[in-house]
Amino acid sequence: MSAPAGSAPLPHRSVANIRSPSGAGHHQSGPSTPLRAIPSNFGSPSSLRADEEIIIIEFGTRKLQVGFSGDPAPRGCIWFGPDQQRRVGDFREWQTDYRYDWRRAAAGGLWGKDHELWQYDVRGADLGLVGDRIERALREAFTKYMLIDSRPRRMVWILPSSLPIPLLSAALDSIFSRFQPPTVSLLSSSLALTVGAGVRSALVVDLGWSETVVTSVYEYREVGSSRSIRGGRMLVEQTHKLLARHLPEARGGQDNSQEYVLSFEECNDITTRMVWCNARQRSRPYQPSSDALATVQEQDETKLEGLSPGRMHGPVVIPLKSWLSPTSLELPFDALAEPCENTFFDSQYSHTSFDDHELPLHLLVYRSLLQLPVDVRALCMSRIIFTGGCSNVLGLRKRVFDEVSAIVRERGWDPVQGKGVQQFRTNPNLNLKRRVARQAGEGPTGVALQSGDGEEQDGVWHDAANTVPEPDPFEEQLKRGTDKRPRVQGEMRAIESLGAWSGASLITHLKASALATVDREAWLQHGAAGASKPSDVDHKAQRQSLGAGGLMRGSAAGSAWTLGIWGAT
């Protein structure tokens, strides 16, 4: 057992702390609060360590996927929901008369929020609570699906590369103190996906819950990433709107106060079951007049490509239980494509009218490709990986793919004709493309321009720009090297990945090291504060993508370790 553990009194004994948990809270800053004793007292003796059985955990906003390294798929998947937040031994959810009062929850401002582990906006978030949730979910996974004892095991975490540090450290805190993994290695989901697809470069389109993130990976390194708030949550909200619109107007005045007329659970269910996505319409010009309405598109959906001609607009009956009075709703099948249309494409608006954070998917993909240097783009565009919950929306992947290829056909990769300075400012495409154009030419000079609109993206973005000069020189080498071994590039192509979890399982199984490896003792002593920022490690690192140095230092546990890309901010 570690020295501090031995010397420190047992937490249980010290009454003062128990009496006022909050009061104790003040001690938090102190790196060696006696109460740390407990964690380090757990089975530190290495004899108690499980024979290398590495546990892989993929963190999502709504679910946790857990399994053993080397397995093709996770053992268990825990979704977060209000029922998990009850006290132990509270079985009310099983009482026949009990119904979760979602209206109250909705009134409390959480319509669906209680189905999320965390929100990326950590302002005012109770991080301790996040830790508790993770712990409980993990415990359930361990006992129910993995059937493992509580000997300390090494862990590999798969995280979205945009995860805010407070959340990450909250997670690390609770896991380190409750499960005592000797080390936790961090992997970014896009990398895991790339490996899971068998490629070295890819454009990962993660149609996630809280947002859609397009990450370009080049030679196993994230060289660029852009995101849009158009994600699963928005889709469910849209579905709710759709259903609400079709509900009979006899809604009952008492409910007008309510923003939501249906429960999140139900809308979510209907979304996953019934919502689909229109194929791209050949007939439609790429930029419709901004006054065209979503409803307009409905009519000509029969002549959509990829749909069998014989399709009639048969109505679909959807039972609704959570409405004031349980009923069943008749919808034209095509109406069920609206939510997807509005969420991900909004094609009735001209593409210039969107802010950076709310770009429609096809523009998002196109632009993130555009931002890439030519050679990188060539590789990425033929290695597009769709992932995330919304990739299950039937037809969505194809739609995005087609839209993007259409834009490419129309404009190629040339910068749009920009005129005037203010337009230069307002139209993001403009400077982006110009930058790319330049970079393709002479490289680094692009940085100056780039910094203009980097605000949305955290560190990674800048790296993206900065990495540009590096690939170029050896890309010629590459070309020379591979002419005998042709690499598919330059053409739009989507490939299938096993998924982030399985990718990570592969990586771990092959004993490749992670972006960052956090040592338990080190963490418990210093916490996130102890993590040396990649920049501090060496200045090259900053210029490297992925907050490099994470790997090298991290593996040398103890000394100077980083949080990899997550430490980059």
């Binding site: 031994g89 079985f91 099983w94 009482q95 026949t96 008369d97």
Partner: protein, 198 residues
Amino acid sequence: MSRRPPRGEYIETDTGNKVARKATLVGTQNIMLGGKTVIQPEVMIRGDLIRTIQASSQSASGAPPNNTAVSIGRYCFLSRGCCLRPPGRLYKGTFTYMPLRMGDHVFVGPGSVIQAASVGSHVHIGTNVVVGEFAIIKDYVRILDGTVVPPNMVIPSLSIVAGQPARLIGEVPEGGHEAFELRDLYKTVGNNPQPAPS
């Protein structure tokens, strides 16, 4: 014995069983009570549904001892309005009932219908529970109110089940075993009941 002038709502047998006069016991000769068992009013036990597979010749009248249809252990508590009946099924082409066996310290909540093949000891069955035919319930099992245990389901020891159909929702914690003890409850009913301990 029910001929005797009613002296209270319960018949108390010499083995300590307390059987409400308002209980409906059909085919009592096929019902075995282990003793100290409480049968509240409006309970129904179908002792007449005996297994016929081995010798279909014998009718319910000439009852050999092996003819037990329902056997109940000690300190069981059958609440008002519950119903115990042997499960029946097609076996090799012919239909037969099979005996329903119940261990000790089994609490059956009001309005529940039990058609299990066997119920272990220290089992708590809540209110309005339906236990399907040939279900097997092991020891120290808690079945929450309104649960529907589907036919043929096996519920392992120390489980907490609920739902329609029943599913495992938890395990009985180490400290929870004593709660299944029914001796105290036994005393609280009868012709001269004593109040429950605080």
